[in-house]
Structure formats: structure tokens, C-alpha cells
Amino acid sequence: MVRRRLAAAGALVAAAALVLSGCANQGGGGAAQTSQAPAPAQPNNAALPAGNGQGKCAPGTSIAYVGTLAGQNAALGQAIANATELAVNQHNQANPGCQVTLVKADSGGTPDTAVGPTQAVINNPAVLGIVGLPFSGESKAVGPSLNAAGLVNITPSATNPGLTGNGWTNFFRGLGNDAVQGPAAAKWMKTKFNPQSICVIKDDSDYGIGLANAVTQALGPQVAACQGNVKTNQKEFSATVGQVQQANPQAIFYAGYYTEAAPLVQQLRDAGVQAPFVGPDGVKDEQFVVNAAGSANGAYLTCPCVPQEGFTAFTQAYQQAYGVAPQTYSAEAYDSATILLSGIDKGANSRPALLNYVKTYNGQGLTKKFQWQPNGELSETPVYVYRVDGDKIVTDSPIS
């Protein structure tokens, strides 16, 4: 009796497997970006990896991407690594005289796993500069040894303000930090919603806590009285939903990444909370809209990044090379790599030389004008607000 049932089950499974394998390809994938709001066109004088094609450098010269590839939040790291690789490939095609190799080191995304690979890159004399490390936690851990080695590194995504407070001379941030984005978002929310109360919900990451503190201070204690805490990888938020229902705020600001923001906004909308949902650059990602199952519609997203619709060339090249649209921080990584490559093309053939080049660099990138203060912070950090319209993220307005 059992044998017959097992046989039947086997047949059904085989059929199901056939059906599934047919379509288990990389399904989904967001619709291509179509620009709607009047975004600034791709700045025509933006430096590109190709440079003037006359680059000369010693064979074996290399730059490195140090960041998560297989560890936690790997997708974020992957987007940065891909953009860096795209820049290097474009540079090598355009500059026969200077073939730069890209060294990839998987930091695993956590402070203690980052030490080993970073040290290996430091010990590799051919590496003159680093694009990375994506997260604030691991950057804090390896910062001292990178600084001691005088190896210049531009982070396209770590926004914790504390990183530039350690007196490191080799650390440069490729985007605005929380101390810029926080007050800008708070000011914008005050003007937009004129709120009595805003719920500030933060996750337990460096990024989330830093940004939430900045926003809470800018909003003032009585407006930001309602504070919520969630954990990374948390998927069930009934407590936070209950807290928000209780406070009945005019707006909700979530400080954290999209992996938690999507289920949170979905459960808020399911529970009937209609207050506008505002998220930072960590939430501004294709996946946020897809994962929120339709509840993300009408959400606002602040980001110290210039709208990408403008530079279609980069977007198409990325889509064509990796089959996916560029994600958050891809453009910043592309710019950072371009700056390092242009330094090498202009003859910086040693770490101190490239460090000095970046320190004195003043040029227009895709995302913004790049010029750094001594402590590694950008002098000019534009902040834009975006809006989720249906299943696309569209530009709303600049607010910096």
C-alpha cells in the first residue's frame, strides 16, 4: 500500500520539478528605468574611466575592491564590485598603454572577517588604491591598518559620521554622511508634512542608529517622541506596527536597509496605517518596491545621490554587462573607481602619489562634484528626495 503511494508521489514530484526547472531562471527583475521627473541630464563634463586614452602605467598596476561578496548583505557589495569592475574594464579597453587589474577581496561584511582579506590586499604591493569597504562596521575595524599602510580608500556607501573622526589621512567618503542626510531629510519632512509627531524607527546597524540620531536631533524631541527599534533580518513587526498605530504620527521615518523596510511598510499598510513612509538611501533600491508587495506606493526616499536616470550610458552598460539594473551605490562606486583610474593614468604609480592625487582631486563625477576636505568628507553633498510611483522609483526634488 505504501509502495503505491510513494510511486504516485514520485510521479507528481517529477512533473512539478519539470514545470519549475523550466522557469527557475532569473525571474522578475524590475522594469527598465524611464525618467519622468525633470532629472538633471548626465553632466557633460563628468570624468569617465576611459579618460583621454593616453594613460601609461606599469604592467600589473592594480586597484582593489574590498567588501562583502558572499557574506552578509552580499547583494549590496556585489552591486559595488560590479560597478568598479565595469569602470576598470572600460578603462582598460580605452587605454592600451595602461592595463589596470582589479583585485577582489571578500571581506564577508563583518568586522572580524574583514581583517584577513584587507591585510592580504595591503600586503599586495601592486594595489595602489581601494574602492570599499561598503559597511561602516568593517570600515571601523580595518581603518587603522589601512591608514598605517597609507593605502587610499574611497568608500562608496559607508555613511557613519564617526569614520572621519579618527584622523585617518587615507579615508575618503564618496557620498554624503548621515550628518548631512539626516538634517536634510528632517527639514524636508517638517516643511512637507508640518507634523506634530513623526515615528523614527531604526534597525540595530551602525547606519541605522547613526542616521536615526541625526534625524531625531534635527526634528526636536517632542516631534520625534515616538521611537521604534527593530533588528536586522527581522521579518515580523507587529510590535512596531502596534506602536505606530498608538502614536498615530503624520509621517514615519525608517532608518535602515530595504530588507527590513519592505516587510515593515507592507505590515503597516496591512494594519491600516496610511501615514507617509520615508526612508533613507539604504531603502532606495529596486528590491524595496518589489518586496513591499505593492505597499511601497507613495513612499518617499531621501538619498545623497544624484538621480541616475540622467546617465543612461552607465545604466545601459551595467545592465548589458550584468543583466540587472544598477543598484544603490553602483554609480558612486563607478565614480570612485574612475577617480583612482584617472590618478593612475596621470602617472601616480605609488600609493603616496595616488593618495596625494585623490587628496587634491577636484572634478565632476556622474553622481556629484568630487572634492574632499582634509578629514575625507566631501565638500559638496547634494541630497535628493525620490518617490515610489507604482512600481518605479522616480525623482521628486533636490533638498540639500
Partner: protein, 314 residues
Amino acid sequence: MFLDRFWANTINGLSYGSIYALVALGYTLVYGVLQLINFAHSEIFVIGVFGVYFTFLALGFVPGATPNIPIGGIIADLVLAGAVGMILAGVAAVLLERVAYRPLRRRNAPRLAFLITAIGASFVIQQIFRIFRGSNPEGTIRLLQPDPVFRIFGAPVTNLQIIIILASFAMFFAADGFVNRTRLGRGVRAVAQDPATATLMGVNRERVIMITFLLGGLLAGAAALFYLMTIPQGAVFNGGFLLGIKAFAAAVLGGIGNLRGALLGGLILGIVENYGQSLFGGDWRDVVAFVLLVGVLMFRPTGILGESLGKARV
């Protein structure tokens, strides 16, 4: 704050608890029969989740907004997806036993070796999913928009919660009936109590072990469907780990090896977790779960309903 959300938390806890319970049944069955903590069971659950997710894709649903199709169609799709999820998880559980545990049983390996193999197997399954489907959660596919059907003391009870609680209880009674009332079930109980004598009495031990893993896998597949219905963003390679540990805690809470214990333990854990969460805040949810586990074990080590099937390996 806590009191007026009391009923909402209780209902939410029940629906979560029933998911814990179904997964806990898998742990309890395998432990009851083999005295083995099957750490890889959480990955069998993840296989179920991906099974359900791929069926949604195969049925033409695309991640993103919640489609509005007549309720009949949705129920049929859910049942099909659930069935595929259950079968995949069941077959995976049997394969896991055949590949990882059987060689050890043949060699009479010390029980610690089983633990290491279990964690090795969970690494392998997790990494296979990570390599093929990336480390980000899959896009959200939600077929059923939860909307309240009726209210208890003011707390909304959504259609989703009703389906999950009723279906889980049905699954439980089916499993309980199977183990306690069918001939095969008697075989399972016999092998659990005394494997050597059971074999002497003509019970085919290997087949009973296979059935135990199959049953555990089927239930985990069902739990996977309900989990994906509640949390559509749940399809990710490491989605099962913490849930697995909590489901195991629920199994022990109710009395390891005791099917009714697993159900009770799961429901209690789900509800107490929700109370704790609304009392102390979202991030204290897991702490409450483990404090409850350690507390109960300290005073009543055999769990609330006491050991059944086989005795715990002491």
C-alpha cells in the same frame, strides 16, 4: 499599551505559533525516533519555502503588487503550491537521512557525529540556495491580501490567520492520527521506544525512519506555505535558521518526542513571544523565547506534557 493589544497579540501569536508547531513536529518526530537533534530540519523548511515560491513563479505570478484574482483561483493556487512545497521538503528530508545520517547509523557513530553532520548538511543546503538564488530575499509574491473577517474583543482576525490556524490544526490531527492510529504509526512508536525489540517484532526499522523524516518534511512544507503567506519576503537562503531553533525550542517546551507537546509548545511560544514583544519592544522578541525555554527546562526538564515516543538520551 499591552492590554488593549492583548487580543491582537494572542491571535497573531496563535497564527505564528501554529507555524512553529508544524516545524516543531518535524524536530519532535525525528528526536522521538532517533534521539537526534536534526539541525538541518530548518533547511528542509527552507526547501519547502523555495518550493512554494517557485510554484508561484510557475503559475505566472510576478513579484510585486498583490494580484486580485477570484478567491477560488487563489485557494487552488495556494493548495497546489503547498502540495509541491510539502513534497519537495518531504523528499529532501528523506534524501538528507539517506545521504547524511544513514552512513553514520551503519557505522554506529557516537551521537555527536550526527550533530556535526546535521550542521554540515544545513551549511550545504543553505549555500546551494545562496549560490543559485543569491543572498537577497526573493521578490515578494503575495496571493492573498489579509483583510479582517471578524473581530474578537475588538482585535481583527484576518482571513490569512484563520486559514493558517485551521489548516495547521488539520495537519496536526492528521499527523497525530497517523502516528497513534495507523499500523505504520505503531511502527514509528515501536522503533521510538525500543529499536532493537521493534526490529525483532518484524518492524522494518529503515522504512520507519524514512517515514518519520518524510512526515517531518511534509509538515515543514506545509509550514513553509503558511510562512510565505504571512511573510512574503521570507524566501531567502538563511531564512530558516532562527525559526528552526525557535521551533526546536517549542518542541522541547512541549516535551521532546511528544506530538501534542510540539503543538502546545509551538502555540505557547508564539503567543508568549508576541506578549513579550509588545511589552518590552520588538527587539526583545527572541530573548523572551529563549528565557521561556530555559526557564521551563530548568523546572520541568521533560517539558510541559512530558516525554513520549522515545526517552530523551540522558
